[in-house]
Amino acid sequence: MSDSLSRRSFISLAGGTAVALAGLGLVGCGGSSSSDTSSDSSASSDSSAKALSGTVNCSGATSFQPLVEAAAKKFEDENPDVTIAITGGGSGQGLSDVRDGKAQIGRSDVFAEEKLDAFDVAALNDNTVCVVGMGPIVNSNVDVDDLTTDQLKGIFTGQITDWSEVGGTAGKIQVIERKAGSGTRATFEAAVLGGESAPADFAPVAEEDSSGTVVEKIQQTEGAISYLAFSYFDDTKFKALKVDGVEAKAENVCNGSFKIWAYEHMYTKDADEVTQAFIDYMMSDEVQGSMVEGQGFIPANDMKVKKDASGTITNA
């Protein structure tokens, strides 16, 4: 509770100084990033010293668009002759745009391997700018706090249909799925269903294609369960569950104990100077520290485990 509250108040301060950050005790993954601040600010002043100019088109996934928008604004303020033109469109759009050269950066919340031919993937450069954790969420009235992976699997494949089967008060479980083909659903199914998908005859009560409608419906519907990126967690509206006793928190994702997470990718193809400078800026601690965490994401550098395109997890 206090964690989410402080994050919420933090968002209003997004872009605040690292000092304020440390004061709030919000450095998600053990605070390792704040120690690098000095080396980093010199890196960013280096890039601005070259007087960059040009336009970078960046299209794709909407899930971390606010983060990129915030970073782009700072980057533009530091480099007045640079424009980062951001558009949405979804991961599919972002990947096709960068493949076809229509955008210099394509944002995606899935690996390019899932959407493009191997030949096209080979030409792309993958920049994993941050990690997003996702956790199961339920309506606030559900009196279950913890589910095992097997129980989750049962619920999302239609085997378990009543809350009493998992230790709660009897009541129908209303499963709200995400749209098939979305990055969020792919991540959840890979981690929870072990790559299987729900049987064809199992129909959830809704299959939403946006986190917004999920929040609205979870909040209103008795007995509802779904899953959502940490960045949208809001204790005032719904309840996040533990999985196998592990709390859905950034530090648990970092140390590998919480399994449902994905990279947010910014793909480039033969990046020019400005594009590369912006990518470098995204990876710098200026963004990776305060901004990434402020928006509810996890800095990629803090991860102690890593995932490849086929979903295999290894220690970093």
Binding site: G88, K179, G181, V205, E208, A224
Partner: protein
């Protein structure tokens, strides 16, 4: 005199060319649109080899797994459209009759401008209200059966409100166009107002009322964002009833495009849905023309 005539003729020519060019431009854009949508949509069948009949009759739509059966989407699209029409028709017709026959002054000066205002409310705003109010109402009325409250019924209700102004305004115009002699004749025979409306006015306004309804249906069929917020979006199975969450052709498009890469089979399949939508709106236009032709014939 002859000298004056030449520039006049030229002037006439300039006018004709200028205005004709505008018409031509519009026609060209429409033709380009039809051509491009058809080209992209048809390549799903001719390039990617999706079977047209299994596309139309397949009962599951999971583009990310290469399952392209658009029947659930087609059925839902027609379902919400018919529901919306069913809800809207009595209300629109009733208020049109009131406005034209009972209180023309109030109707023209106050009611009609207000209804036109309803037409100006953006569809995203209707979606917002639907998400907060209509879905909650569905759950309050039907309980657990309604799931999250999202479903065909919710979609139908939101669309009904959205097409109400269109159908009402056009119905008012249709009723107002009925010549007054008809009414006077009926009153002269001693008929009451209701009898006059029911037996005379409605009958002679029938073609324009049908046009009003079909234009409303066209709008309901093509609406995307408002429906998407309230309908639940389940594409992989046939809807089982009015409370089932489902997806329409339009909502499958808005949600599908974000996950498809250009040029992929999935992308073309989405265009094929767009082609279906376009074909349907052409059919609606055709129906309106047929009604118009029949109405003209009846009038002699």
């Amino acid at each position: 005199m002859a000298k004056r005539l030449m520039p006049k003729k030229q002037l006439e020519g300039v006018g004709l060319i200028l205005t004709g060019a505008c018409v031509l431009l519009v026609a060209l854009v429409v033709i380009t649109l039809i051509f491009m949508v058809a080209q992209q949509g048809l390549s799903a069948f001719f390039v990617d080899g999706i079977n047209f009949f299994s596309f139309i009759s397949g009962t599951s739509w999971v583009p990310s797994d290469g399952v392209y059966g658009a029947l659930p989407l087609i059925v839902t699209s027609f379902g919400v459209m018919l529901l919306a029409t069913l809800f809207t028709l009595p209300i629109a017709l009733g208020s049109a009759i009131f406005v034209v026959e009972v209180q023309p002054g109030f109707g023209r000066r106050i009611f009609q401008p207000l209804v036109e205002l309803l037409m100006g409310i953006p569809s995203v705003v209707y979606g917002l209200i639907g998400l907060t109010v209509v879905n909650a109402a569905m759950r309050a009325i039907f309980g657990e059966e309604a799931g999250t409250g999202a479903g065909i019924l919710s979609g139908g209700i939101v669309l009904a409100v959205m097409i109400l102004p269109t159908v009402t305004t056009l119905s008012i115009d249709g009723l107002a166009a009925v010549p007054n002699e008809y009414r006077e004749g009926s009153y002269a025979l001693g008929c009451t107002r209701w009898q006059t409306v029911w037996h005379v006015v409605l009958k002679s306004a029938m073609p324009s009322l049908m046009t009003a309804v079909i234009l409303g249906m066209t709008r309901a069929f093509g609406e995307a964002l408002a429906v998407q917020m309230v309908i639940g979006g389940v594409e992989k199975v046939m809807p089982a009833g009015l409370l089932s969450p489902a997806a329409t052709l339009t909502t499958a498009l808005t949600s599908g495009f974000s996950n498809a890469t250009t040029g992929s089979v999935q992308y073309h399949a989405l265009w094929a849905l767009g082609l279906l939508l376009m074909a349907m709106s052409l059919v609606f236009i055709l129906i309106i023309h047929l009604i118009g032709a029949k109405g003209a014939k009846n009038r002699g």
